[in-house]
């Protein structure tokens, strides 16, 4: 990743020097070994701050909405999962493709700091370096290498698109990873086995953990409404009330609103401070959509019709049997 980091900095510098773009969005290293945060740079000399390492987990594409309001042409670094979110924003007409230059970054997976902490490897840790699936833990005492993906985010272990599906330039050679399509829906099996009462209990328990912070919504590339109904004080919802009914209402509404648009980037689950497995809910809906309307992968192909906004005569639901006298 270090070599690609050099390319990241060089490309950003060049793009700003040549005025190819007004601004470049990338990642910068912060205080701790896992601390990487999004930065937007406008000067070529700031490009030296940019990094590419195992903690560049944040998807930068949603920031494009605001940048384009400021009429800026932006260069952005996108991983595979990020590119799906980018495409969804395009499909939802939230951004203008012509105003973006995408530098694609094939990604072997990002490291989950929680998993490192769980193994107690965070003590005295200064840095984590990654080369393919070899993780190097750098401490004051020296370096320790561990081979394997046991520190990857769960969402990365189920990654289907390690390579960006849309880009202008690719900064690294494409990665080949074997992924089983069924793996991502494994978590749905347990839910489908539950009775209706058990399911209700399961989700009631999960949603009751919600602290109403809206992190899941704000990080989500499919949640791009100008004004969310839960921010609308006239909507008659109590979006700050930490009570079961309101929490359930929020999460169910959100799940259905991103249905068919969720790109399965898993960011909602990653950022949830309460540990609610929101991706499990999204997976169930994706699986249902696949079964009812044929296989669909949001964010992969912008030209493909989205299943929930398309009607065909042989649709799984003809819509003719509802209403008066129908079911």
């Amino acid at each position: 990743m270090e070599k690609i980091g050099l390319k990241v900095r060089a490309r950003a510098k060049e793009a700003l020097e040549n005025r190819e773009v007004d601004e470049v969005m990338g990642w910068k290293k912060g205080e701790f070994w896992y601390d990487v945060y999004p930065v937007f740079i406008t000067e070529a000399n700031e490009a030296d701050d940019l990094i590419w390492d195992a903690f560049c987990v944040n998807n930068l594409s949603k920031y494009l909405i605001q940048k384009q309001k400021e009429n800026k042409k932006v260069g952005v670094f996108l991983k595979g999962c990020d590119s799906l979110g980018f495409n969804q924003l395009l499909k939802d007409n939230r951004i203008d493709r012509d105003q973006v230059v995408i530098y694609g970054l094939p990604c072997v997976g990002m490291v989950d700091p929680e998993k490192v902490k769980k193994e107690g490897l965070n003590k005295g840790l200064l840095e984590i370096k990654r080369s393919k699936d070899e993780i190097t833990f750098v401490t004051k005492e020296g370096e320790k290498k561990i081979l394997g993906r046991q520190f990857d985010y769960d969402k990365c272990l189920a990654c289907r698109y390690p390579n960006p599906v849309v880009y202008d330039e690719l900064l690294d050679t494409e990665i080949a990873r074997e992924v089983s399509e069924m793996d991502r829906f494994k978590d749905v099996e347990a839910i489908e086995k539950m009775s209706i009462t058990e399911r209700f209990e399961y989700w009631s328990n999960q949603f009751s953990k919600c602290i109403r912070c809206n992190a899941c919504r704000n990080i989500c590339p499919a949640c791009s409404c100008e004004k969310c109904v839960f921010d609308n004080v006239n909507a008659g919802v109590s979006s700050k009330a930490s009570v079961d009914s309101e929490e359930q209402f929020f999460h169910i509404t959100r799940a259905y609103h991103v249905a068919g648009r969720c790109v399965d980037c898993g960011e909602c689950t990653r950022v949830c401070p309460a540990g609610i497995p929101l991706d499990q809910l999204n997976h169930k809906i994706m699986k249902d959509i696949n079964e009812l309307y044929g296989k669909y992968d949001a964010g992969v192909d912008v030209s493909q019709d989205a299943p929930l906004v398309t009607y065909k005569l042989d649709d799984a639901d003809s819509f003719t049997e509802h209403g008066k006298g129908g079911k």
């Binding site: 701790f32 945060y37 999004p38 937007f40 008659g236 109590s238 700050k240 009330a241």
Partner: protein, 343 residues
């Protein structure tokens, strides 16, 4: 000083639970939070930073004040808030205890918030020293000693591995300790020496923490200069505008009052607000903080400038939860360092 063996600790929980509600760090689905203890719960006394702070116990996230019902032309109202049961809050870390004191400065000053006061008075706070401070801890920047009993605790405890040392600090704490005299044994001289050793170890560890160099004195510009600093523009552009930081924070205390509107009946409740949200400080005339920049600035100016001006102390205790929880790693430490000209 008293002591109790860890092997007997569940008897202590049972005993406390006979006369009090017991709130203690409980692990559930891989997350640890202060919850009301029930037999069989998995108590976790090792964790330093519970997922959310224990603030929720003294200042609930949502609390119904009154219920109302329309009856013809009349409205019947019933006051329902406050706390009736006495409770014990066990295992609060020194930083979180100090956060209670910061909330007291706001809610117990005239006009006193009576529901809050009632809740505070019903509680016995038992702290636990931090044997193993973590890399995101920076309480020392605010003069908090994680090895000691801090002001405001009724009982202080130290985790000695196989036993817990126990020392009452207030009259309330002494009476409580007295009520447990058959369970708490007298600590020996060796125990007390071991405790001193532990405290010294903690002090040493704190010195070597990566954030031990934070110096609040570096933020020395005038309020006006800080208010108009260019850092707010940059940070707020990166900020997602979610409320994670504010809701896991032990010192955030802004609240909103809303109604559950059920047509003919309803409830008026208080809930935590978040300066990160677009309807924060929304009033009939509009919102004085129109963009994320103003809201983001409010969070940090409040903790680092306004509150200290009003109460003489910073409204951050350095627990580091915001560092761990921010989805994009824009946190208090970055702001402190930037305002102090370090980054």
């Amino acid at each position: 000083m008293k002591k109790i063996l860890k092997s007997q600790i569940s008897q202590l929980w049972k005993r406390i639970n006979q006369s009090y509600e017991l709130f203690i760090p409980i692990e559930k689905d891989n997350k640890v939070n202060f919850s009301m203890w029930q037999e069989g719960d998995q108590v976790n006394l090792e964790i330093l930073k519970t997922n959310s702070s224990p603030k929720n116990i003294i200042f609930p996230q949502t609390e119904t004040y009154l219920q109302f019902e329309k009856n013809g032309k009349k409205i019947n109202m019933e006051s329902v808030g406050g706390k009736k049961e006495a409770y014990v809050l066990f295992g609060v870390r020194p930083c979180d205890v100090v956060s209670f004191n910061l909330l007291d400065n706001v809610f117990l000053r005239e006009p006193v918030d009576r529901f809050y006061e009632e809740r505070r008075n019903k509680g016995i706070v038992i702290s636990m020293a931090c044997s193993d401070p973590e890399e995101t801890c920076f309480c020392s920047a605010f003069g908090i000693d994680p090895e000691n009993a801090v002001e405001g605790v009724d009982v202080a405890t130290w985790d000695m591995g196989d036993k817990i040392l126990w020392m009452a600090q207030t009259e309330k704490g002494k009476m409580f300790t007295q009520s447990l005299k058959d369970l708490l044994k007298e600590a020996t001289e060796e125990d007390e020496e071991a405790c001193v050793q532990l405290k010294n170890n903690i002090k040493e560890k704190v010195k070597n923490l990566p954030l031990s160099n934070i110096d609040m004195k570096k933020i020395d510009k005038s309020m006006k200069d800080l208010f108009e600093s260019s850092i707010w523009e940059d940070f707020s552009a990166q900020c997602l505008g979610c409320g994670s930081c504010t809701y896991v924070c032990p010192t955030c205390h802004c609240y909103d009052i809303q109604d559950f509107d059920g047509g003919k009946s309803g409830e008026r409740f208080r809930c935590w607000d978040s300066c990160m949200f677009s309807d924060f400080t929304l009033m009939a005339h509009g919102n004085p903080r129109k963009t994320q920049k103003e809201r983001f600035r409010q969070r940090f100016m409040h903790k680092l400038v306004y509150y200290p001006n009003n109460h003489g102390t910073y409204a951050c205790v350095g627990c580091g939860r915001c560092i761990e929880r921010c989805p994009v790693h824009i946190d208090m430490v970055k702001v402190i360092k930037k305002l102090g000209g370090e980054l």
